[in-house]
C-alpha cells in the first residue's frame, strides 16, 4: 500500500467556502504531501488603492473581507492617522475598540459554526449562527449595516452611540455572555465532537513561531502573541484592560477553547467600554492630503495579526498600500499540520485557522490573459464551458 495518488481539493469544493486550490498526495486515508495554489479571488485591491484617494481607499480596503472589514478599516485608518499626525478623541477610540470587539464576537461565533459544519455537526452550526444574529443586530443598530460597518474614518469613528443604544448593547452582550459557556462546554464534552477535534492538527509551539503563524492558531500553541499587547492600538494598553487567552493544547480543540475564551474576554472589554465611555466628540478633522512618509500599522483582527504598510507621497493618493491578512500568515503552518493527517481531517484542519481567502487574494488584477474580450456574456461563457468539458472528455 505505498500507492499514492493526487486528490484535488478546490478550486471548487464543499469544504472550501471560497475558492483556493489544494493538491493532496494521499496514500489511502493518509495525506503524504500538500500543496497550495492561491489567486482565484483576485480583485487587484493593492493596485486599485494607488489609483484612488485615501477616502475612497478606506472603503475599498473595508471590502477586502466581509468578516474582518472593521479590522482592515481600523488598520488603514490608524496608519494614515499616524502619517497625518492626528489623534482621535477618547470617545472615538473607545467606540473604535468596541466595534473591533463586536466584530470579533461575530467572527468567532461564525467560525464555531463553520467548524461544526466541517465535522458534520450541523446542529451546532445552526445554534451558533442563530446566536450570532444577536451580535449582527447589535452591529446593524450601531453602524447601519450587518457587514461592512463603515464605522472607522481618519480621526475617529463616523457615528456616535446614544443612551438607548448603550442599553441595548449591554443587554445583547449579557445574553451572549450567558450563552457562550454552553458551546465551550459542548465542544469539550460531546464525544463525537471531541473525537474529531482533540489531537487533530497538531502545531507545536516551536513550529508555530518558526512558520510565523498568527492569531488564535498561534495562541492555541501556547504563544502569547497578540497585537493588542505587543503593539497597543485603539485604547488597548493604557485605557482599556484586557486579558490574552492562550492554551497549550496545540490542536483544533485548543483553538476552539481559545476562541471561546477570547469571546468571554471580549464581553468584558465591551462592558468596560460601555460603562466607562468618555464624553466628547467622536472624531477630529482630518486633512485630505497626507504628508510624505511611510508607516506600518498592525491590528489584531479576529483571525490574527493584520498588517498594512502605507507609503504616502504628499498627494491625496497613496503611493503603495500593502495588505497582509492573517490567513496568508497561517497557510504555511496549515500545510505543516495537513501532512500526515487523515483525509477526513482536511476540512477541520483547514477551518481551524479560520481561512479567509478573499483576504489572502487581493493583489492582482486578472486582466484579459486569454486575450480578447474582457466581459464575457452568457453565451460566450456557456460555449467556453461546453468546450472546456469536451476537452476533458465529458460530453454535454
Amino acid at each position: 500500500m505505498s500507492e499514492t495518488f493526487v486528490l484535488p481539493v478546490g478550486p471548487q469544493h464543499p469544504a472550501l467556502k471560497e475558492p483556493t486550490s489544494f493538491r493532496f498526495k494521499v496514500d489511502g486515508e493518509y495525506i503524504v504531501d500538500a500543496d497550495l495554489r492561491l489567486g482565484y479571488n483576485h480583485r487587484g485591491m493593492e493596485k486599485g488603492c494607488e489609483a484612488r484617494t485615501y477616502v475612497q481607499d478606506i472603503y475599498l480596503l473595508e471590502r477586502v473581507c466581509g468578516i474582518c472589514s472593521n479590522a482592515h478599516m481600523t488598520c488603514f485608518a490608524q496608519g494614515v492617522e499616524r502619517l497625518m499626525g492626528i489623534e482621535p478623541p477618547p470617545r472615538g477610540v473607545f467606540i473604535r475598540c468596541l466595534m473591533g470587539e463586536l466584530e470579533r464576537i461575530h467572527s468567532h461565533l461564525l467560525w464555531l459554526g463553520v467548524a461544526g459544519h466541517e465535522i458534520g455537526f450541523d446542529t451546532f452550526f445552526m445554534y451558533t449562527w442563530r446566536d450570532r444574529e444577536v451580535v449582527m443586530d447589535l452591529l446593524e443598530m450601531v453602524s447601519g449595516n450587518r457587514v461592512n460597518y463603515g464605522m472607522q474614518t481618519f480621526g475617529g469613528v463616523r457615528r456616535d452611540l446614544d443612551g438607548m443604544q448603550i442599553k441595548t448593547l449591554l443587554e445583547g452582550i449579557a445574553a451572549l455572555k450567558a450563552r457562550t459557556p454552553y458551546y465551550l462546554n459542548l465542544g469539550a464534552t460531546e464525544p463525537t465532537m471531541v473525537a474529531r477535534i482533540a489531537g487533530v492538527g497538531k502545531l507545536p509551539r516551536e513550529k508555530a513561531i518558526e512558520l510565523t503563524a498568527a492569531g488564535p492558531t498561534t495562541r492555541a500553541s501556547g504563544v502569547d502573541f497578540d497585537v493588542r499587547k505587543d503593539d497597543p492600538y485603539a485604547g488597548f494598553g493604557d485605557l482599556i484592560p484586557f486579558t490574552i487567552v492562550t492554551d497549550n493544547g496545540c490542536d483544533v480543540l485548543a483553538r476552539v477553547v481559545v476562541r471561546a475564551k477570547e469571546m468571554m474576554a471580549s464581553y468584558d472589554i465591551m462592558e468596560f467600554i460601555l460603562r466607562n465611555l468618555p464624553a466628547g466628540e467622536v472624531r477630529t478633522k482630518a486633512p485630505r492630503k497626507v504628508p510624505e512618509g511611510e508607516t506600518v500599522s498592525r491590528v489584531e483582527a479576529q483571525r490574527g495579526e493584520l498588517i498594512h504598510y502605507i507609503r504616502a507621497n504628499g498627494t491625496d493618493k497613496p503611493d503603495r498600500v500593502k495588505v497582509r491578512a492573517p490567513t496568508l500568515a497561517n497557510w504555511p503552518s496549515t500545510l505543516y499540520m495537513l501532512r500526515g493527517a487523515y483525509l477526513a481531517d482536511i476540512p477541520i484542519i483547514m477551518a481551524a485557522i479560520d481561512p479567509c481567502l478573499s483576504c489572502t487574494d487581493r493583489m492582482a488584477v486578472i486582466s484579459d490573459v486569454r486575450g480578447g474580450e474582457k466581459v464575457w456574456d452568457w453565451e460566450t461563457l456557456r460555449q467556453y464551458g461546453i468546450e472546456f468539458h469536451r476537452r476533458r472528455g465529458i460530453r454535454p
Binding site: 465535522i119 450541523d122 473525537a195 465529458i394
Partner: protein
C-alpha cells in the same frame, strides 16, 4: 384472481406505491424533526406544511440533466441504482404489515425470511460500492472504499443484534417472532441492548450522521454519489428513504412486537412504530458530529460487536430458564 392479488401486493400495498408515498412522508418527518431540533422550520411551502416537498424534490431531480462521465463503466453505472432500488423494494414486501396469520406460509412470509430481509437490506451497500467504483472518479472511489470499510464494521453487530430476538422467540420467521412478543410482552426489555446496537447499525447502514463517512460532503463532495445526477440520483435518494422505512419496519417487527390486530390497527401500529424509530434516528443525527472511518471501525469492534455478543449470551441464559 391470484395474479391480481400479486399485482396488488407488488404495485400498491405493501409494494411500490405504498412504499413510495410512505417513504417520502418519512423523509418529510425526518427533515421536519431535524429542522425543529435545530430551531429551524424545515420544508414549508410545497403542499400542506411542506408535506409534498420530498416528492417535489424527487420530480425535480427526475427532470434534471442526467450526466454519465465518459470514463465511467457505463452499463454498471446505469444499472446500479435500479438494482439497488429493486432490492429494497423487495425487502418492503417481506414486512409483516398485513393480516398475515402466522399459520399461513406464503411468498412473503416463510421461515428464514429474517435472513433474506437482512441480506436485502445489505444489498444497497454493495450497490453504493459498485456505484462509486463505476464512477471512476477520485472522490467516488474513496467513497466506495469507505462504504466497504463501513460495511465490515456494522454488518456483524447488525446480524448479531437481530439474532437475539430470533433466538428468544425460537423462530426464523418475522411474523412468528412478532407474534411471540405480542403474546409475551414481558420479554421485550430483554433485548434492549440488541435494539440499541441495531439502531446504531441501521443508522450506519443508512449512512446518516454520525456515520455518513462515505458521503462526507465536506471531505468527499458527494462520496459515492459524486458523479450521479438527474434520474439516477433521484433513484438513489428514493432508495435511501425506502431503506429507512423497511429498516425501521424490520426493527419494529423484531424489537417492538410487530404490528398486531389485522389490517387497520396493524397499519396504524406500523406507522406509529416506524415513526418512533425514525424519531430516534433523527435525534441521533441531530446530536452528533461525523466520526472518522478509523474511529468507526474501532467503535464497532470494541463496543458494538461485544455488546451484541453479550446480548446474545444473555438471551441464551434467559431462554435456558424459560418454562
Amino acid at each position: 384472481m391470484d395474479l391480481l392479488k400479486v399485482a396488488l401486493y407488488l404495485l400498491v400495498y405493501p409494494g411500490l406505491l405504498f412504499l413510495f408515498v410512505y417513504s417520502t412522508f418519512v423523509e418529510w418527518v425526518d427533515r421536519k424533526l431535524y429542522a425543529r431540533f435545530q430551531h429551524r422550520r424545515g420544508p414549508l411551502y410545497t403542499g400542506r406544511a411542506g408535506l409534498l416537498q420530498p416528492i417535489a424534490d424527487f420530480v425535480k431531480l427526475m427532470a434534471k440533466e442526467d450526466i454519465v462521465p465518459s470514463s465511467a463503466d457505463k452499463p454498471l453505472f446505469n444499472a446500479v441504482p435500479v438494482l439497488a432500488l429493486a432490492a429494497v423494494l423487495t425487502s418492503g414486501l417481506l414486512l409483516p404489515v398485513w393480516h398475515f396469520t402466522t399459520g399461513i406460509v406464503s411468498a412473503t412470509s416463510f421461515p428464514g425470511d429474517i435472513i433474506v430481509m437482512a441480506y436485502l437490506l445489505s444489498l444497497p451497500t454493495f450497490a453504493y460500492f459498485l456505484a462509486g467504483w463505476a464512477s471512476a472518479s477520485m472522490y467516488a472511489s474513496i467513497g466506495a472504499v469507505r462504504v466497504l470499510t463501513l460495511l465490515f464494521s456494522y454488518e456483524v453487530p447488525m446480524f448479531l443484534a437481530i439474532l437475539s430476538p430470533a433466538v428468544m422467540a425460537g423462530s426464523w420467521r418475522m411474523a412468528e417472532i412478532a407474534r411471540f412478543y405480542q403474546l409475551h410482552p414481558g420479554y421485550l426489555p430483554v433485548n434492549i441492548i440488541a435494539f440499541a446496537v441495531a439502531i446504531l447499525a441501521l443508522q450506519a447502514k443508512l449512512e446518516r450522521l454520525p456515520f455518513d463517512i462515505p458521503e462526507a460532503e465536506t471531505e468527499l463532495v458527494g462520496g459515492t454519489f459524486t458523479e450521479y445526477s438527474g434520474r439516477k440520483l433521484a433513484l438513489f435518494r428514493l432508495l435511501t428513504d425506502v431503506q429507512m422505512v423497511t429498516g425501521a419496519g424490520f426493527l419494529a417487527t423484531l424489537f417492538l412486537a410487530g404490528f398486531p390486530g389485522g389490517l387497520v390497527p396493524g397499519f396504524l401500529w406500523f406507522i406509529a412504530k416506524t415513526l418512533f424509530i425514525v424519531l430516534i434516528l433523527s435525534a441521533i443525527r441531530a446530536v452528533t458530529a461525523r466520526i472518522r472511518i478509523d474511529q468507526m471501525v474501532n467503535f464497532s469492534w470494541s463496543y458494538l460487536a461485544p455488546a451484541a455478543l453479550l446480548q446474545l449470551v444473555a438471551v441464551i441464559i434467559v431462554k435456558g430458564y424459560l418454562p
